[in-house]
Each structure stands twice: as structure tokens, then as C-alpha cells.
């Protein structure tokens, strides 16, 4: 079994690397196909002549297109996507600065999505009321269909403008430095409540749908009926038998969702002026900072691949029977 797991892991790592390689190749093709001189996608007058020359050499811009492609792939895998026009810094240095916020923000939102959706599904199942089930299912569908920019602006309008309960945007207030440590922590959380609701709501609705359907399936299986007839406590059945069995389909969706979140909560970060990957991507597009756009797209793709890889590992941990499935 152990050797099978190692083999599975290696296969999964290789397929992830292949996907990453395809992503890099696709990026290179997109750069070549986009309007304008391809050289302008790497160097700009803003960078100065010496730096531009260095980049041109590093990306083989004066060489045939095959050499350019090989250099691009090699540079991408070694973490060099050129120099941002606006920041005049290596692209990945800029991305890392913004990615750290996204990592924290997305992780909190992801945990909330998982927790709230499972809790909601359990609550509905425990209540055993059809109208409640229908109501929550329809409400979750409604919430899922609200675009983030509508929900974000609506929350701002209600809770910030009218009720004056939360700040409209930003990560901290202007007087942040004058606050005590505890107040500083509260201040940051206070600023992040509305963005977190905006980012989390759709995910909760989506996860709820998956987990609820999956739980319903498990609840109808014979072993659960046997457990019930043996007089096992309903809470224990739910926690020890239903949830673990119902989680599997959720993990696959969660992998994709985590990848999307880590790639940058584009709309939420722009509406609430948060310094994350999504905002960096938007800013770099609007300022036509091509190296940074390429770097952001590459990062979003790479974290998506990584999140799916992690989801597969977690699934393996939960259910060893999947080892064969992945190998096949």
C-alpha cells in the first residue's frame, strides 16, 4: 500500500508539473498573439536602458522565437518573470508582497466557507423540516447567484453608509497607529468583516449544496439505518459516520474554490480597497504593466494547480481506496 501511495503522489506531482508547463506555454503563446510588439511585453522605457538590455538578454528577445520560448519557460520555472514596469522590481518580489495578504484573507474565508456550510447542512438535517430544507436550499441558490460586486456594494450601502456599523473600505483606520495592540487587532477585523462576508457568502452557498446532497445520500445508506436501529446517538452518527463519508465530493470542489480564492479575490479586493493579488492583477492590467500581468496570471494558475494537488492528497488521506482510482 505504501509503495502505491508513493507512486500515486509521484504521478500526481508529475501531472501537476505538466499542467504548469502547459500553462507557461499557453502564456507565451498569448503574449505572442496579443496586439503590439512582443518585446514591449517585457521591457519599457521606464526601466532604463541598462535594465532593459539585461531583460532582453535574459528573455532572449533578440534571438529566434524558439529560443525566446525556451528562455521564457526556464525563467518561469526559476521564478523570474522579468521586472515590473511600475514598481521597477522583479515581478515575483511584487507579487509576494500582495500574495501574503491574499493568503491570509483567502484562508480565513475558506475556513469560514467550510465551517458555515457544514454547520448549516447539519442544522437543516437535524431539524428534519421540509420547508426549512427548501428555504435554505433556495436561499443558498439566491445568494450564490448574486455577483460579488452587487453584494459588496449592497453591504456597504446598508452596513456602512446607512447603519454606520462598518468602514467602507481599507484594512485599517487612519488613526490605527495611535491604538493599543488589542484595538489594532479589533480595528483590522472590523475592517475585514464586510469583505469576508462578500467573499464567503457564495462559497457557503456552493459548499452547502454539495455537502447537503452528499449527506442526504449517506443518510439513506444501509449502514446508517443499521446504526440507528442499534440505538446509536444521532449526533454520533452524524459526526462520526455521515460527515466523513459526505466530505469527499466537497473536497474536490473545495480544491478548486481555494485555488480561485488564492488567485485573488478580484472584485472583493477592488471594492473594499484591499491590497491583495486580485487588486494587483487589476491594477497591472489597467496600467499595462505586462510583466506583472503575466506574473499574476502565472501565480493564479500555479496556486490553482497546487490547491487541486492538496485536495487530492487530503482525499487520499480520508479514503485509501482512491489510490487506485488516481493511479488509473
Amino acid at each position: 500500500m505504501k509503495s502505491e501511495i508513493v507512486k500515486t503522489l509521484l504521478t500526481r506531482i508529475l501531472s501537476s508539473l505538466l499542467t504548469l508547463f502547459l500553462l507557461v506555454s499557453f502564456l507565451f503563446i498569448i503574449i505572442r498573439l496579443s496586439p503590439g510588439d512582443p518585446t514591449d511585453k517585457y521591457i519599457s522605457a521606464k526601466l532604463g536602458s541598462e535594465l532593459s538590455e539585461r531583460i532582453a538578454e535574459k528573455f532572449s528577445l533578440n534571438q529566434p522565437v524558439t529560443d525566446q520560448y525556451l528562455s521564457f519557460v526556464a525563467n518561469a520555472f526559476s521564478g523570474d518573470m522579468g521586472v515590473s514596469y511600475n514598481y521597477r522590481l522583479p515581478v515575483f518580489e511584487v507579487i509576494w508582497e500582495y500574495f501574503s495578504f491574499t493568503l491570509v484573507f483567502a484562508s480565513i474565508s475558506f475556513i469560514l466557507q467550510m465551517y458555515l456550510s457544514i454547520w448549516l447542512a447539519l442544522w437543516v438535517i437535524k431539524k428534519r423540516k421540509k420547508w426549512l430544507d427548501k428555504f435554505v436550499t433556495n436561499s443558498s441558490l439566491f445568494i450564490y447567484s448574486i455577483p460579488a460586486f452587487v453584494l459588496g456594494v449592497a453591504l456597504i450601502y446598508i452596513f456602512s453608509v446607512n447603519l454606520n456599523l462598518f468602514p467602507i473600505s481599507g484594512m485599517k483606520s487612519l488613526d490605527y497607529d495611535d491604538l493599543s495592540f488589542f484595538s489594532q487587532v479589533l480595528n483590522k477585523i472590523h475592517h475585514l468583516v464586510l469583505p469576508l462576508i462578500t467573499l464567503t457568502a457564495a462559497g457557503v452557498a456552493l459548499f452547502y449544496k454539495y455537502i447537503k446532497e452528499s449527506m442526504d445520500d449517506v443518510l439513506n445508506q444501509t449502514f446508517i439505518i443499521n446504526l440507528r436501529s442499534s440505538g446509536v446517538n444521532e449526533n454520533i452518527i452524524l459526526r462520526k459516520h455521515v460527515i466523513p463519508n459526505a466530505l469527499r465530493p466537497l473536497i474536490s470542489v473545495a480544491g478548486v474554490e481555494l485555488g480561485i480564492l488564492l488567485g485573488g479575490a478580484l472584485i472583493t479586493e477592488v471594492i473594499f480597497s484591499l491590497p491583495g493579488m486580485g487588486r494587483l492583477t487589476v491594477d497591472s492590467i489597467f496600467s499595462r504593466d505586462y510583466p506583472l500581468v503575466i506574473g499574476c496570471v502565472f501565480t493564479a494558475g500555479a496556486v490553482m494547480i497546487l490547491a487541486n494537488f492538496l485536495a487530492d492528497i487530503i482525499k487520499l488521506k480520508i479514503d485509501k481506496r482512491l489510490v487506485k482510482g488516481i493511479l488509473n
Partner: protein, 547 residues
């Protein structure tokens, strides 16, 4: 901990959070918050490429002279700043500056003539690629554009120096004055490394405000520098630039009082904002205009005239059939003015009031086109001349709703007299490339107006000089006027020539001038002493006070 307890804990925490945080306006009374859409990348005046960067850099690094807008004359006038006085030589080939001896950098060092000379050296250095690189052609320069310091400057004492000009030059103070940066900070940094140096993010300044804090992509905080020579009693204690990329969010914060001043407000929000008692709405017109470009030459063979737009009567007819007033009234709610030429009405002494925009007269346009041989002989609804049908594609860059709206109106207007237009959006980078290569038949774009007025890059026939003359317009009389404007002539003569320029341009109508678009500024009424001129909003913000 069971789920119920955890839920109870989370709810209690949220409740505590709401009641513990001060939800009232946290803006200090002596602080002005300015909303901006994008963060800066540097505080160094050398690299202040964006609007926000240059506005902040100008506050940190004052120039030798202060330029104030004279609304009556419609021109900038020099006032003392770092230089307390200046004297032109009789032959106008040199100028002697006497600078103040009481100016301190924010780190306590004194500002001297050496800083000024160093600033010119760095700004013109090709290794630095500063935002002003290439503009020093009126000074003694080397072949790469670098100022020849020895020939240009003569430092008499730490507070007095002379600036010399070549005989052929026509120096204009507005064009040759640069912000002064501290020599002691930058002198030991390799020139090609200046752009990335950490000193750009912790600037040592001499302006009325000094750098306090930068929370990347959140806020930039400047505080009043009481040691600055520009500091005045009662000056605002802090100037905060709040970065809010979302427009709706900026407007909501303006209404709530979290932002005190906002530029580039959309016309559709004006009425609602005017209704707010705490806000003042001001519209500044004359720094930007939109136009429809007609390529005067064949995009495939630039030596040949364009088969549709070579004739000035045809271009005039096109202008007569575009209902610009409708666009102004419908989309811009009457904010903005019709344009007749590229000379803005803000330049009151040079503006020719006799040159009026072409009226919307489709019948007259039809007659003009008929006279030029454009008729619908085959009755298919499209005009033709010989075998050439009057149809073309008009391009415009994506992301401008006004131009999108205008393109529909223009298309319908032209269709009504038998001209078929296909409108097409283009990515901005590709659009600009095409304009520089003169590949487009027709396009809709806009131009910003520089102060002082500079027409040569836009209308000179030689593409190396008139590099922004995208329509390939050629008129020797215009070239002659533009050359004369660069010679040593009096201001009256200059204004006379500019008026003549407008008449010729109006007669030739190389492009259809649409309208002067407004910059709508909204600010909180608690800000006093704020003067909005075409020169800018923030230029003298240290004179603002809080009510």
C-alpha cells in the same frame, strides 16, 4: 467545544467588535483626505510618472519658482519659491537666481545652489530616464540630451547662481524650471540604480508637507513640516491620500465624509452630490478635448492623400453632420463645451473667439459633399465618387463610456447623409500603436492640453517633430506659424500667431473637434481657501485651511 458554543462565541465576538470599534468618523478635524484611484510607485520627483505621483512629488519637492494661474490673462505667472528673485540678462542669454538661505531639507540640511544644479544634472541624465528627460533642449546639452553643467551653470555662492542658454534658444521659465531634489541623499547612488533605491520611499523633502507614512495600496500620509519655508500657521496638519480603486466606493466615502476631496467625478453623480450640503461641486473645463480623427493621408501609401478625407470641404461636411451638442447634453448633461480648435479657451489672451464650432447643419453638409462629387448614384443609400463608396471604420479605445456613446451618435448622424461607418473598439495599447503608425482611417480619441500651450508636436507636418500629428495633416502655413512661435518674439506677437493658427486649422478642419470634457471636482465644504484653476487642484494645497 461543541458547535453551539462555538457559534455563540462567534456571535458574541462579532457583537463585541461592532460595539467596541468607533464607527463614527475617525478622520481628525485637522486632516484632509483626498481620494485617489491608484497607489504611487515612488515619491521621487524624478520618477513621478502618474498624475498622483506628480501631485505628491510636487508637494514634497518645490521648484525654483512658483507658477500661479492668472485667470484674466489665461497664463502662468512666475512667483518666488526656492528662488527669492531672478534677473534676466539684457541679451536674454542668461538668468541670475538668488535663492533663499533659510530653506531646510526635512533632515535638517540646508538647501543650496548646489542642490539646484545637481537636480538639473540628474533630471537630464539618460541613465536615470527621469520623467523630464529630453525636455532640456533650450539649455546647453550633449548629444544624448544630458545638460552640459559647466556651460549652463555658474555657481556664484551657495545661494546665487547663473543659468546660461545657447544663442539659438528661446527659454521659457515654465519649461525649464525643475523640482529641486537633495544632492546629499542622491549623490552617492549610482544613477542607473536611482529608480529602485530605498530613498525613493522615505523621501527627504523641502516642501510644506513631509512624508509621514505609506501603507501600500491603502494610504499615503503627509504631515505639515513646521521647519519648511512654505509652512504657514493654520496649515492643515495632515494630508492623506486614500487609495480607493472602486469609483462607487470613492463616491460613497465622499458622501459619508471619509474622503474630503475627489477629482474626476462622473457627470451622472453631479446632481446627487450637489444635493449634499457638506459638499461643493466644481467643474474645470479646458484641459482635455475629444476629437474624431480623419487620416489625411493613405494609411497604406503615406505619400498619397486619403481617398475619403483628403479634402477639407469633406472634413468640414463631416463636422457639420455630427451632432456634438446632442452628445454634450445627453451624456455630459451640458457639462463641457463644444470645441472649435485645439486651443483651449483657458488661454484667454491667445484664444480666438471668432473661431466658432461648426453648427449641426446636415443639409449644408450634403451640399458640400455633392459639390465635391459625392453622390448616391446607385441609390443604395451610400454616397459614392466614381467607384469609391463613402464607408470606413472608426476605431476608439475600450474603457471610455462617453466615446462609446458618442460613436453610436456619430454613426447614426453620418448614416443619415449616406456615409456608412463601422465602429470598432480596440485595446488601448494596440490603439496607440496604430495611431503612431498612422494605420487607421478614422478614430475617436482625446488630447490633454499642456500648460504652457505647445502645438508643435500635434500639428507640425514633419512626423519626427509632429509625432502626435496622427492625421498626417500638412499645411506649410501652419508649419511656418509653429516655427515662428519658437523664435524670440513678444508675447503679443505670439498670441496673434496662435489666433491665426486657430483660423487656419478651423478652415482646414484636419480632424473634427468634438468638445472640451470636464474634470468635476467635489470637496467637503470644511476645506477653505481652495482655488481650482486649470493649473491643477493640489498645486497650492498648503494654503488650504480647515473650517
Amino acid at each position: 467545544m461543541n458547535i453551539k458554543t462555538l457559534n455563540l462565541f462567534l456571535l458574541s465576538f462579532l457583537f463585541l467588535l461592532i460595539i467596541s470599534c468607533d464607527s463614527k468618523k475617525s478622520v481628525s478635524e485637522n486632516r484632509i483626505v483626498i481620494g485617489i484611484a491608484a497607489d504611487v510607485q515612488s515619491f521621487n520627483s524624478l520618477f513621478a510618472f502618474s498624475y498622483e505621483e506628480s501631485a505628491i512629488a510636487e508637494l514634497l519637492y518645490p521648484s525654483l519658482l512658483d507658477f500661479r494661474w492668472n485667470d484674466k490673462k489665461g497664463e502662468l505667472e512666475p512667483y518666488p519659491m526656492i528662488a527669492k528673485s531672478w534677473q534676466w540678462a539684457e541679451d536674454s542669454l542668461s538668468i541670475r537666481f538668488l535663492i533663499r538661505d533659510d530653506i531646510l531639507w526635512s533632515d535638517g540640511n540646508k538647501l543650496t545652489a548646489s542642490d539646484v544644479v545637481f537636480s538639473y544634472d540628474v533630471f537630464s541624465d539618460p541613465d536615470v530616464q527621469s520623467r523630464l528627460y529630453g525636455i532640456f533642449n533650450q539649455l546647453f546639452t550633449e548629444s544624448d540630451g544630458h545638460i552640459d553643467i559647466e556651460k549652463t551653470f555658474n555657481v556664484i555662492s551657495p545661494y546665487e547662481f547663473e543659468m546660461h542658454f545657447p544663442e539659438s534658444s528661446v527659454p521659457d521659465l515654465v519649461k525649464i524650471v525643475v523640482p529641486v531634489i537633495p544632492e546629499h541623499i542622491f549623490k552617492d547612488i549610482s544613477r542607473d540604480q536611482l529608480a529602485n533605491h530605498e530613498s525613493n520611499f522615505n523621501p527627504v523633502s523641502s516642501g510644506a508637507f513631509k512624508f509621514k507614512k505609506w501603507n501600500k495600496n491603502q494610504t499615503i500620509i503627509l504631515e505639515a513640516d513646521s521647519n519648511s519655508f512654505l509652512f504657514t500657521y493654520g496649515q492643515t496638519a495632515e494630508l492623506v491620500f486614500k487609495i480607493v480603486p472602486d469609483y462607487t466606493s470613492r463616491i460613497l466615502q465622499l458622501k459619508k465624509g471619509d474622503i474630503d476631496l475627489l477629482e474626476l467625478v462622473k457627470v451622472e453623480d453631479v446632481e446627487e452630490l450637489k444635493a449634499e450640503k457638506s459638499l461643493t461641486v466644481v467643474s474645470s473645463i479646458g484641459r482635455e478635448y475629444d476629437y474624431v480623427g480623419w487620416n489625411n493621408v493613405d494609411p497604406n501609401e503615406p505619400s498619397k492623400p486619403h481617398k475619403l478625407f483628403e479634402n477639407s470641404n469633406v472634413r468640414k461636411a463631416l463636422s457639420m453632420v455630427i451632432n456634438r451638442k446632442e452628445i454634450l447634453e445627453e451624456y455630459l448633461s451640458g457639462q463641457g463645451d463644444l470645441a472649435a480648435s485645439p486651443v483651449s479657451p483657458i488661454f484667454k489672451s491667445a484664444f480666438n473667439e471668432k473661431v466658432l464650432p461648426y453648427e449641426f447643419i446636415p443639409d449644408e453638409a450634403r451640399k458640400l459633399l455633392f459639390r465635391e462629387g459625392w453622390k448616391d448614384e446607385d441609390r443604395n443609400g451610400i454616397l459614392e465618387k466614381g467607384k469609391t463608396e463613402f464607408k470606413f471604420t472608426m476605431y476608439y479605445p475600450v474603457g471610455n463610456p462617453l466615446r462609446e456613446y458618442a460613436s453610436v451618435v456619430i454613426k447614426n448622424n453620418l448614416k443619415s447623409i449616406g456615409i456608412e461607418v463601422t465602429t470598432e473598439k480596440m485595446e488601448l495599447g494596440a490603439f496607440i500603436n496604430n495611431l503612431y503608425e498612422r494605420k487607421l482611417d478614422s478614430w475617436m480619441a482625446g488630447f490633454g492640453v499642456v500648460i504652457p500651450l505647445d502645438l508643435k508636436p500635434y500639428w507640425y507636418s514633419d512626423p519626427n517633430i509632429g509625432f502626435l500629428n496622427f492625421s498626417g495633416y500638412i499645411n506649410p502655413d501652419i508649419d511656418n506659424i509653429l516655427d515662428k512661435l519658437e523664435s524670440r518674439i513678444s508675447l503679443e506677437e505670439k498670441n496673434k500667431l496662435i489666433k491665426e493658427f486657430q483660423e487656419i486649422i478651423h478652415k482646414d478642419e484636419p480632424v473634427t473637434f468634438l468638445y472640451w470634457t470636464p474634470n468635476i471636482i467635489v470637496y467637503n465644504t470644511r476645506i477653505k481657501n481652495l482655488k481650482i484653476t486649470p493649473h491643477g487642484v493640489l498645486v497650492h494645497c498648503w494654503e488650504w485651511t480647515i473650517n
